[in-house]
Every structure is written in C-alpha cells, then in structure tokens.
C-alpha cells in the first residue's frame, strides 16, 4: 500500500497548479462565471498545448496514455482553481465513451482532434426525469431515421463541436452540433457553469452517426465523469479549507486571531477530516478503475460521500469567513457553487447510495 504519487504524477500536479495559478486566478474564474459565453479560447488552447485534453487518449492517436487516476489528479487542481469549461465532459466523459464504444474508424477520425482540443464533445443524457442512469433514457431513434426530443443539462453545448446523444436501448449517437434541427437553449446556473437544454427536431441520423452498441461503455464513461466531478469537489474543498485556515490565522477579533478560539479550531478540524476522507475515497476508486478492478461500489461510495462532505466544507467555510464570504468578489461562493453543482452531476447522493446499498447486500 502506498499513497504517494509517482514522479510523473507529481510533475503533472505541480505543472497544473503552477499553470492554473498563472492563467486561472480567482478573478479569471469569477469573470468567466459571470460572462455569458464563459469560455476562454486562449486558455483552452494553452491547456491543449500541455496535452491535457489528450490525457486519456492512446499515444498512437495523439494522446498520452494516461490513466483515470492521472485525470483525477489533474481535475483536482482544476477544482482548486475553479476552472470552468468543457474539460470533464469532453476530455473525460466523451473521450472515455469513444474509447469504449467507438469503431476503429471513428476513433481514428475523432480522438486525435479531441486530444488536441480542436474538437469538443459533450454528452446529452439527462431527460425530464432528471436521472443520470442509463436505463432512465426514454428518447428513441430509429437508425437510420430522425431524432426528435429534448435533452437537459448538456454541459458547454455552446462551445462543443459534437454531441453524444444517449438514446433508448443503449444506443449512442455522435452528432455534429450544427446539424439541422438541433437547437441549444442556455440555462442560467448559480455556478456559472454553462448548461443547455438541447432540442432535436427531426434531426437526420445515419448509421455512420452511431457508436457501436456497448452496454458497459456508457456506464464506464459515467463512472469516469462521476470521479472527475468528485475530484473537482475535493480540489475546491481543499481550497476552501486553505482559505479558511488562512483567514482564521489573520482575522483578529477580541484581540487575537479567530483561529485561537476553539469554536473556529474545531470547525477547521472537521474540514480537514471531510477533505482528507473525500480525497482518500476518490483516489481509491480511481486507482481501482485504473487497475481494471471492479469498482462500481467504490465509485458510488466516493461520489456520494464526497458530495456530502465537500458541500459541508463549503457551507461551514461560510460560517468561518463571516460576512466577507457573502461578497461576490470573494472566491468562496464560487467554490461553494461548483461543489454544489458537481455533487448532483453524474448522479446525486441518492443515486449513488442506492448503488452502495446493493453493493453491501441490501435486497
């Protein structure tokens, strides 16, 4: 057993932290959250130059053969910085789907462009029921045929070049966003994340638009998405903890730093527990996935636990910061909103706890 990062993982984390400190300051994150488009093309290109979108892509298709554990370490840093954008949906979820369900020709055509960040793909899964479970999909489509219906909470559809649409019976359609009949309607979110309702009005779908039917592919991609979002929460919660401790050391009331009062000390001690345990479960689950071990219960455990624990960190963070944390110019609220958004993305606690319930043998 060993919790240490490998030298290449240490390098990845150090590079990411340094890069994001320079190029995604709290002010930048806040500006992008308030901006209607909220996407910094130059920042995305720089990230692509570092090879990040190709982390999961095989070397012979322009990527760097990374593992899900590597991805999780990188996304943790993104969460710490409050970086917005389509990294998780495109470089993690869509890429994982294409790796698992794409035909050889589709992979050769699409993966290199995803790896360089030229293409951005996003998943259209959720429907009116609000569920992230594959079996909840009701939208149907004959292939070849026409697609008519609505998907909700589609991330960064405005900057995406492609949509992966989950339809009934386990089919996945890969459609360019500019195909006739596709309309993207923005939703206004607390966190500044760009989410869309996407409607399909008799959109032409051909056999070549379909990924190979692979029952496990969507499940694996959703697990990768759940862990990436967990990593985001862990990074953001760690940042809240760091900021709270710094504040407790420097904010003087009653003649001494508020961190000298037990009420604040004990709150901070609980934040340490919540962050450390969330991270431990995250790494354990990502390691198991990366090793090819059965990990459904571990992924669900990490997502459900961290969702609750990291949100608690954010909420107690507000109490430690007092009034200043209520201000838009302070970084706390954005971290909090991101954690909240991530906690319900790719399955909320209810969904994942049901997976855990089955994994511990509850009938």
């Amino acid at each position: 057993m060993d919790f240490a990062l490998s030298p290449s993982q240490q390098l990845l984390v150090a590079t990411a932290r340094d890069f994001l400190r320079k190029h995604c300051s709290p002010e930048t994150a806040q500006r992008l959250a308030l901006d209607e488009r909220g996407f910094d093309d130059a920042l995305w290109r720089r990230m692509a130059e570092l090879g990040w979108p190709g982390l999961l892509v095989p070397g012979d298709l322009g990527g760097s053969d990374g593992s899900l554990l590597d991805v999780v370490l990188l996304v943790e840093e993104m969460g710490r910085a409050g970086l917005p954008g389509p990294f998780v949906t495109s470089a993690v979820v869509a890429t994982a789907l294409l790796l698992a369900a794409g035909g050889a020709e589709q992979q050769r055509r699409l993966l290199p462009a995803l790896a360089t960040g030229e293409r951005i793909a996003t998943l259209a899964l959720v429907e009116a029921g609000g569920s992230f479970e594959p079996h909840a999909v009701t939208l149907g489509c004959e292939v070849p045929g026409r697609l008519t219906g609505t998907k909700l909470f589609v991330k960064d559809a405005h900057v995406a070049t492609d949509l992966i649409v989950a339809v009934r019976d386990g089919d996945l359609l890969w459609l360019p966003v500019d195909r006739s009949g596709i309309v993207r309607l923005p939703l206004d979110t607390l966190s500044g994340e760009k989410l869309f309702e996407v409607t399909f009005d008799a959109v032409d779908v051909g056999a070549e638009d379909r990924l190979s039917r692979n029952e496990d592919a969507l499940g694996a991609a959703l697990a990768a998405g759940a862990l990436a979002r967990t990593a985001e929460m862990v990074g953001a919660a760690q940042r809240v903890l760091d900021l709270a401790v710094e504040h407790a050391k420097t904010r003087v009331q009653g003649g001494r730093p508020i961190g000298g009062y037990q009420a604040i000390q004990h709150a901070c001690a609980d934040l340490v527990r919540d962050v450390d345990t969330s991270r431990g479960l995250l790494y354990l689950a990502a390691w198991k996935v990366s090793e090819g071990q059965p990990a459904a219960g571990d992924v669900a455990t990490a997502k459900a636990y961290a969702g609750e624990a990291c949100l608690t960190v954010a909420r107690r963070g507000h109490q430690i910061f007092g009034a200043i944390g209520y201000c838009e110019e302070h970084p706390l609220h954005l971290l909090h909103k991101r954690i909240q958004a991530a906690s319900v993305d790719f399955g909320d606690a209810g969904q994942h706890l049901e997976t855990v319930a089955r994994s511990i043998g509850l009938r």
């Binding site: 057993m1 340490v272 527990r273 345990t277 969330s278 479960l281 636990y305 706890l353 511990i360």
Partner: protein
C-alpha cells in the same frame, strides 16, 4: 499509488483466516469486558493462542525473539481478528509497551517482560488519569521518591482499563519538581501484586467492570523498572501518542464493518408491515451512507498506516482518524438501535434479543470512546493547532 496488500500480506491474511476458522473465537473463555473498541473482550486464553503462533512478537527484532516481519502484518492481523469478532482486547496496548521496551527499556524490562508479552501472558494497564487529572494530565499528583536502588510511589490512579486482570501497570508519576510544568515526570512499570498496591473495580454503565482505580501506598519498585529517561516521561508520552491513537483504533473500521454486515442481514430478514426492512428507502439510505463513512474511515487509517510505516512526520493524521472512528462508532450504535426498535434495548443474553444483544452493548460502550485516550475536543484542538498551525490557546 497502490491500494492493495502485497502477496505476502495476502498470504498472511489467509493464514489468519484459517486460524480463526479453526479456532472459533467464541470458544475462548473471557476474563474481562469488551469495551466496544473493536478488539473484543479480554481473553488470556486467546492471547496465549496468538502468542503460541509467534504473532504477538512477529514484528520484533530477532534479538528479542521476533521474526522482523513488516508492520503491515499487524494491520492484517488486526483486520482479520476484528472482522471475526475475536477477543484480543489488550493486544494493542501490549504491542505499544513492548515496542517502547525494545526501543528504550532497561535490561531488566527486556529480560523479564518481553518474553511474557510474546507468550500473551503480560498485559498492561495505563496509570495516567487521576481523580483531579483528566484532560489536564499534568495536574496529576502521584509522586515517586528515590530510595537507594528503588522508587517509592504514592498516589491514586483511576480509569485504568483492565487493571484488575492485567499483569503490570504503567504508572505515570512525578519524580521531581522542575521549573517547567511538563518536566519531571517518569514512567514506572509496576507488577500487579506489588505490596502497597490496591486495585478496586469500577462498575460501568453496562453493568460490567472495565475500569479500575488503583491506590498506590508506598509501592516500592526497583529503579530499573523505569521505562524511558527519568524526568522526560511527558515528552516520551507525547511522542508515543500519535501511534497510540492509531493502534488503539485501527481495528475500529473492520469491527464497524462487521456490525454493518449484521445490520444488513437484519434488514434483509426482518419483515415490517409485510415487507423486508431493507426495502424501506430511509433504512437503505442510512445503511448505505454508513457504509460510505466506514469506507472513508478505513482509507484514513490506511493513509496513517503508510505514514507510520515510512516514518513520515505526523501532525494531525492519527488524531483525525481517532476522532472519526469514535464518532462513527457512536453513529452506528445509534443507527443499530433505531433499526432494532423495541428489541434494541434488550441486553445480551436476554430472551428475544436480536443480534445477540450486541447492539445495545455497543451503543453504551461507544459513549466512552470520545473521552478515553484524549477527548474529541482535545483532539480537535490538536488537529487545529498542530495540524493546521492555528494559534494555541496560551492558557493550555
């Protein structure tokens, strides 16, 4: 990163599992109460069985009769024994004392005490707390005075676990008055039965005896029963706290997992209003949520284990693990009582008791866990001050 156990550790795990299967823990006579920490009751016979296999001394140096096995073998042994509900109550304390004796014990302690620990015969009570010295340990008043080659101890210790059935006391005592309040303390290893020592049981809220109070009325021990340097006992105590907290709670996660498994069985097989309790969405959620928290606890201890193994600096990691272990145990006790409903308060052995009445026992004993070995409040302050660097309260 690597979260698995090595093939050697796995092979040892199988060996322990075979042992437990061939030696069902419930067959061993019990000498002292199970205080709910996860290490079960006190059973000399079971400890002797572990000793006979060489497992108690397995990580010690060859020179002291050990096999120099890696520390993680102890984790494996604890996990498997706790998962089986085995009665190895005092083992963690014996290991900690033996390690101290190996590291800085006198010839006498090494010669007289270590072989008895290895056989599972020697167990220890901690004489730390006093009626007027709980969280503020330094306010203790027990004193030892030097007389030639002996120390004469006078004082009153309390809340010493299993003192009446252990073989030696670790008596923390003032041996000199120094300008600094934390200097001048020493640890003496005092055999039970030494003249002048009087041990009285304290009946606990479960109706059983776990704690004792010990009166030391001019108890005379040889000078070379001192464990560690004279006058530096408090520093030695502090230095050992991080690993004490770890080893004293390591078996909690596997023990809680065992209880959770029992509650899952109970929920699956208990019909309420015509349907299994397991189908109640609230019950499902609470049990699943508990499973995630136990998994979190386990990973926290595994990380601390790696730090201890690697000799890495520890500032808060075992303190945070202990607090979580103790609070989670209380939460599970509460959940168990809720699920058992009117059967919850039935005692062990009562007619009609479900799950052997263990849940009500755990419910009660877990109340003491956030107090013993450092209260949750003291430890949270430690985490904040030592771990996060928040300013210490000058009055402390």
């Amino acid at each position: 990163m690597e979260f698995g156990f090595t093939p050697e550790e796995q092979a040892f795990r199988e060996e322990v599992r075979r042992f437990v299967a061939e030696h069902p823990p419930e067959r061993y006579p019990l000498d002292g109460m199970d205080a709910g920490y996860g290490s079960g009751a006190h059973s000399r016979a079971f400890l002797a069985e572990l000793g006979a296999r060489g497992w108690i001394a397995m990580t010690w140096p060859h020179a002291f009769g050990g096999a120099e096995r890696p520390m993680f073998f102890k984790l494996v042994l604890f996990e498997e024994l706790a998962a089986a509900g085995a009665p190895f109550g005092p083992l963690a304390g014996s290991w900690q004392t033996a390690d101290a004796i190996i590291e800085y014990g006198t010839e006498r302690l090494r010669r007289e005490v270590l072989p008895a620990v290895a056989r599972g015969e020697a167990t220890f009570w901690q004489g730390y707390s006093e009626p007027g010295a709980g969280s503020d340990l330094l306010s203790l008043t027990t004193e030892a005075k030097r007389d030639g080659d002996t120390w004469i101890i006078r004082g009153h210790k309390i809340w010493s676990s299993h003192a009446g059935i252990a073989t030696h006391g670790l008596v923390f005592t003032r041996t000199s008055r120094e300008a600094r309040r934390s200097r001048g303390f020493s640890m003496l290893v005092v055999p039970n039965g030494t003249p002048g020592m009087q041990i009285r049981p304290i009946r606990s809220l479960t109706g059983e005896v776990y704690h004792y109070e010990v009166f030391l009325d001019d108890v005379r021990v040889p000078a070379d029963t001192m464990l560690g340097p004279e006058g530096e006992g408090f520093q030695a105590l502090l230095n050992g706290l991080d690993s004490d907290r770890f080893w004293g709670r390591y078996y909690k996660a596997p023990a809680l997992e065992r209880v959770l498994r029992q509650l899952v069985d109970h929920a699956n097989t208990t019909i309420v209003n015509g349907a299994p309790l397991a189908r109640d969405p609230v019950v499902r959620r609470r049990l699943a949520g508990m499973a995630t928290e136990i998994a979190a606890l386990r990973v926290l201890f595994h990380r601390a284990a790696c730090l201890l193994r690697d000799g890495a600096p520890i500032s808060y990691e075992t303190a945070v693990a202990k607090v979580m272990a103790d609070e989670l145990g209380q939460k599970l006790g509460r959940l168990g009582m809720d699920l058992l409903g009117p059967w919850g308060p039935l005692r062990e052995g009562s007619r009609g008791a479900r799950l052997d009445g263990r849940i009500s026992h755990d419910y009660l004993t877990s109340l003491g866990h956030t107090i013993a070995g450092g209260t949750a409040e003291v430890l949270r302050t430690t985490i904040a001050v030592r771990g996060l660097g928040l300013p210490a309260d000058k009055r402390a």
